[in-house]
Amino acid sequence: MGPAGEPVEAVFREEYGRLLALLAARFGDLDLAEEVAAQALLAAVETWPRSGVPREPLAWLATTARRKALDRIRRDATLATKLATLHADADPARRSEPVAEHEHIPDDRLQLMFACCHPALDLETQTGLTLRYIAGLSTAEIAQAFLVPPATMAQRLTRGKRKIQQSRIPFRVPGPAELESRLSLVLHVVYLIFTEGYAATGHQDLVRCDLVDEAIRLARILHRLMPGEPRVTGLLALMLLTDARRPARVDDHGIAVSLEDQDRGRWDSSMIDEGARLTTQALRHHPPNSWSVQAAIAALHDEAPSAQETDWRQVRMLYDELFALTPTPVVALNRAIAISWHEGPQAGLDHLEALASEPGLTRQHHWHAARGHAFARLGRHAAAAAAYRRASELAQTPAEIGYLSARAEKYATPG
């Protein structure tokens, strides 16, 4: 094995979540798990460049970390007592037991994920802890991704970890009675990470794009651990089908390109194939869940050769179904847009105007942009220009502001 550095880094990134989950489940103590995981990684940095990366890096790291933990417990009587009351693995009989090279190493990340996304923690903390402990991002990276000062993020993570410890949030997959609602929280956190990154893909700030990859990686982990769970399958499919359009979303000048005008040849066909396959798999379960329905809508867009040739009738039906499952203003907005394509711009506009009393919609650019689009198709250029102008004032990213301003200009010019 050549000089380490990058290969070692790559192994760490891949194995950190599993290592930490393993140690947390074993010792029931996140602080201890974090401490000895760091020590094991340090030992690897010192050893691997000389001896080469071991064939089973995780087994090596787990054995090393466990030894460090047991040393620590021996030295620290208070910790030993604490772990004993936790009924954790402070049992001397198991202490010296080595991890064989090919021992099956359990994947405890699901348990850790349910702990990180526990409803006793607030959403921001859930998101931070998941990125820190499951995805293995550093505190500084997470802070940068969410545009908060590192000290703020560090404090948030420390408080969250403290609450897990002090109130003893279990590292366990919830029982059947709670699984439904608890899994929803986990999926919500993963999707929030995705949308946070996706909304920012117009930024020059490429770091935030990593959040999209992290969210997909988290969903892949969940899918591997819960292969038969249609909501997980649906979420992974939805994210793949959405992210497949990334190469065409922004033009060379950093201006957003609408779905209608995107160069579909630049979409990632292997992601679309995988997403479509997963969507089919997720939709086999009845009744359908909102993730699978959203994935099905995304698949119809991705598989259509152009906006005009999209199966809008089917898209509209799926939005009806989605609205029945989650009757939110945003779903109603998307449904209205589908109607404008299916039945025509006037029908779409009628549905859009019916949503004018939703402050959550009128304060964001999407609703105004959708009205602008419908007006433009009806030939009402002055109204289109005004709606696009309003949308550009409300948009957040330079890419969207650029796109919406250009539209407003276009329809404001007579002729």
Binding site: T85, Q166, S167, R168, P170, R172
Partner: protein
Amino acid sequence: MKYMLLIMGFREGEGMPPPPSSGAPSAEEFMHYQQELGQAGVLVDSGLLQSFEDATQVQVNDAGERLVTNGPFAESREYLGGYQIIDVPDLDAALDWAARCPGAKYGRVEVRPLVEF
């Protein structure tokens, strides 16, 4: 691990958010809950409090003088109606018990881990 379940009631009026169910839990409901906790072997201690209107406040200043005032703390919108201390393995188990407490239907139940010495 010991947790205290604090059974919180809302003071009526003053633009308070309505509790999940109107009315108040009956003594029978609490008796039944108490029995369940006992049978499960998790109950450490419990108590129901008289009305907050019967509360008396005591403070002692630097000079060691007592200040005794009538009634609950004026600004509090919620009052403690009673408590249970339970001994269960983790927070999820404590939350399960809290969800079954009659107080959760009519007000809310705050779950607080006890400091372990």
